[in-house]
Symmetry: C2
C-alpha cells in the first residue's frame, strides 16, 4: 500500500528568527511496506514535539551541530527528525510489530521511516495520554528532572529561579522544585502565564519580564536573600542578572538560551561574581541523564497520579501547522509543551 506523505522541510538555512517563508509542506508517495532484508520501521506519526533547539540545526552553521547526533545540521529540502509518538505500520525490525505504539526520533510529517540504530522504543502509555510521553514523561521531563536534581543538586529550602517558566521544561522544573521543598520564582512573558504559574502550578512568585526595566533590581526584589539555583532557559541579560543576584556556591544549570538562538546576542555574566561567589555554570542535555531515567519516570508518574504535578500542554492539530507552531516558540506563543497532533490515535 502506498500513501501520499506530507512533511515539513526548510527551504533554506535559517539564520535568524524563523518565518513561514523558510518552510515548505512537501508531499511524496511512500510505500507502507518494508523491503525484504531491510530493518526499517515505517510509522504513522501521532504527536510530534516542537522544540526551540531545532533552530540551531537549521542554521548555516552552529557549534551545536557537531555536539550529538540528534543536533546535526538540517539539510534544506530534506525531512526533519523530531521526538514524538507514533504507531508502527510496517516493520523489518523484530523488536517492533505492526500497531505497536512507539516513541523516539520520528519526523515533522505524517509518516516516518526509522532506520535501525535511530532512537525508537516501544511505548507503554501507563494509562497516561500519549502526549504526556512527548512532554512531561519525554525528553522535556527528563531535561527538567536531570537538570534540576543532577545538575543543580538542590537542598530543601534553597531559593530557585526559573526562566521561561511556562515553557516545556521550565514549568516542570518549578513543579519539581516546589515538591522538593524549595522557594521558587519563575519569569514568563505575559500576565496570563504569570497567573498560571502562581495559581495552577504552585510557584511562590512569578513575574512578567516584559514589565521590568532593570532585571537585576527585579531579581533583587524577588530574592532579597539571593538566588541559590538558576535554571536558565534564555541566556543573555537574564543570565547576567541572575549571576549578579546569586549566593555563594550558587549553581546555574544552562538548559537552553532561547534569547541567543535567533540573534546570537551573548550573555556576559560578571566573572568577578563567578569567582568570588564560587558560582558554577554548567550546560547539559537531557540525554546526559539517562542514568536517572527510571527514577524520573516513577517519580513523575506518581506525582501525576496523585495530582501533585500538572502536565501543561499546548497542542495544535495538523502537520501543515508545524511551521507556525515552531515560529511561535520564539515569540512566546506557547504555554507549556508545544506539540503538534498529526493524526488521531
Amino acid at each position: 500500500m502506498e500513501v501520499t506523505n506530507r512533511y515539513i522541510v526548510t527551504k533554506t538555512h535559517v539564520d535568524g528568527a524563523p518565518e513561514e517563508s523558510h518552510f515548505e509542506l512537501k508531499t511524496a508517495s511512500l510505500a507502507l511496506t518494508v523491503e525484504p532484508g531491510s530493518n526499517d520501521v515505517v510509522v504513522k506519526n501521532l504527536y510530534v514535539s516542537i522544540d526551540p533547539y531545532q533552530l540551531n540545526r537549521m542554521k548555516s552553521y552552529s557549534s551545536s551541530q557537531s555536539a550529538i547526533y540528534f543536533s546535526v545540521s538540517i539539510t534544506p529540502g530534506e525531512g526533519i527528525d523530531a521526538y514524538g509518538v507514533a504507531r508502527v505500520v510496517a516493520s523489518g525490525n523484530s523488536k517492533f510489530e505492526k500497531d505497536d505504539l512507539v516513541v523516539g526520533l520520528i519526523a515533522w510529517g505524517e509518516y516516518s521511516v526509522v532506520k535501525e540504530g535511530n532512537m525508537l522504543s516501544k511505548l507503554d502509555p501507563m494509562g497516561f495520554p500519549l502526549t504526556y510521553h512527548v512532554g512531561i514523561l519525554g525528553f522535556s521531563g527528563l531535561a527538567a528532572y536531570g537538570g534540576f536534581f543532577e545538575v543543580c543538586q538542590p537542598k530543601k529550602g534553597e531559593k530557585v529561579f526559573v526562566s521561561t517558566a511556562s515553557g516545556s521544561v521550565g514549568n516542570l522544573v518549578g513543579q519539581y522544585a516546589k515538591l522538593f521543598g524549595c522557594y521558587v520564582v519563575g519569569c514568563a512573558g505575559s500576565k496570563k502565564k504569570v497567573e498560571l504559574l502562581k495559581e495552577k502550578l504552585g510557584f511562590d512568585e512569578a513575574f512578567n519580564y516584559k514589565d521590568e526595566t532593570d532585571l537585576k533590581s527585579t531579581l533583587k526584589r524577588y530574592f532579597p536573600d539571593g538566588i541559590d539555583i538558576y535554571f536558565d532557559n534564555v541566556g543573555s541579560e537574564m543570565l547576567e542578572a541572575a549571576v549578579a543576584n546569586m549566593n555563594t556556591f550558587g549553581r546555574v544549570a544552562v538548559c537552553g538560551v532561547i534569547s541567543e538562538y535567533t540573534d546570537g546576542k551573548r550573555a556576559a555574566p560578571d566573572m568577578l561574581d563567578v569567582v568570588y561567589k564560587r558560582i558554577t555554570i554548567r550546560g547539559f542535555l537531557a540525554a546526559d541523564h539517562m542514568n536517572v531515567y527510571s527514577d524520573f519516570i516513577s517519580t513523575t508518574s506518581d506525582h501525576l497520579r496523585t495530582g501533585n504535578m500538572q502536565a501543561l500542554e499546548d497542542i495544535t492539530p495538523g502537520v501543515e501547522n508545524i511551521p507556525s507552531a515552531f515560529i511561535g516558540l520564539f515569540s512566546g506563543d506557547n504555554i507549556g509543551k508545544k506539540i503538534v497532533k498529526i493524526a488521531d490515535e
Copy 2:
C-alpha cells in the same frame, strides 16, 4: 621599645588600572610591645605577597568585597592586609612566642599587629626558603593545587590550557598538570616568558598572546583535538576563545579574571557551546580547598625536593616598592610569584 613603622596605604579608591599616585608610604610610631590583657601579636614582616585580587578590594565597589573576609574593601588611608611571612616580636597570644616564624595575613608594611582570630599560624619552613611559603607552598600553591585537582578533576592524557601561565598560580598549574600526565599549553605576554615555560617548566607548548590576532584560531592551532581543561586567570576574550575550542564535558576553573579587574570588560562565552558541549565554568577561591591542604603540602614539597617542580619567584626588596610591584602585575612585569622582601630574615 618603639619603632617608626612604614606602611603602604591607598590615598583614594582605585577604579581602573592602579598608578603610583594612588598610593602613599605612611609612617607611624609603633610600640613593639603588647598591652597587658591584649591578645595581639606584633610581628616584623619579612616577605609579603603581591596579588592582583587586592585591586578589587581597592575599588569604590566590587561584588568581591562581600564575598569572604580577606576580600573586604580597603579603606583609603588605612593599612592593607596581605599574605606573608613574618617574625614575632611581641605576643599576647599563648600560641605565639617572640622570634617565632609565622605565616598568614600580615600587612603591606614593616610591622603588623595581628588581632586574635585573624589568619596567622606558626611556620615550619621544612628546609625551604621562606619565600616558598608565600608562593608555591602558600595560597598561590593551594589555588593551583585545589583549582586543578579539585575543580578541574583532570584525567591523565587530557589537554590543558593555562592563561597567565607564568603568573604565580598559572606556572604551578602547568607544572602539576605535566607531572600528572596531561598535555599542557600556556600563554603569556612575552617571548622570555614563553621560553621559560617551555624550557624551564616543561610546558608542551606556550605562546605569546600579544603576537596573536585571532585567539580562537590560535587555540585551534595548539589544540587541534580540543581543550579538555581551561584554567582561567584572565577572563574576557581568552575565556571566549577557550570555550569555543573546548571538548564535550570540558571544564573551566576560573581562578581570576585579571583582564577584567582594571576595565570591567566582560567575557561573553558562547552559551550554545556551553549547553551543547556540556561545559562547566566554575569559580573558586584557594580558601575553599583547605580539605586538600595537607596533600598539597606533602605532594608539593616532595616535588620540590626531587627537583620535579620549580619555584618561580619575582622578588623586589623594600616596603617602598610595594606600589610599583603591585602596579606591575597589571602590565605583566612579574615572572612568577611577585613578592616584596621587607626585611632580612
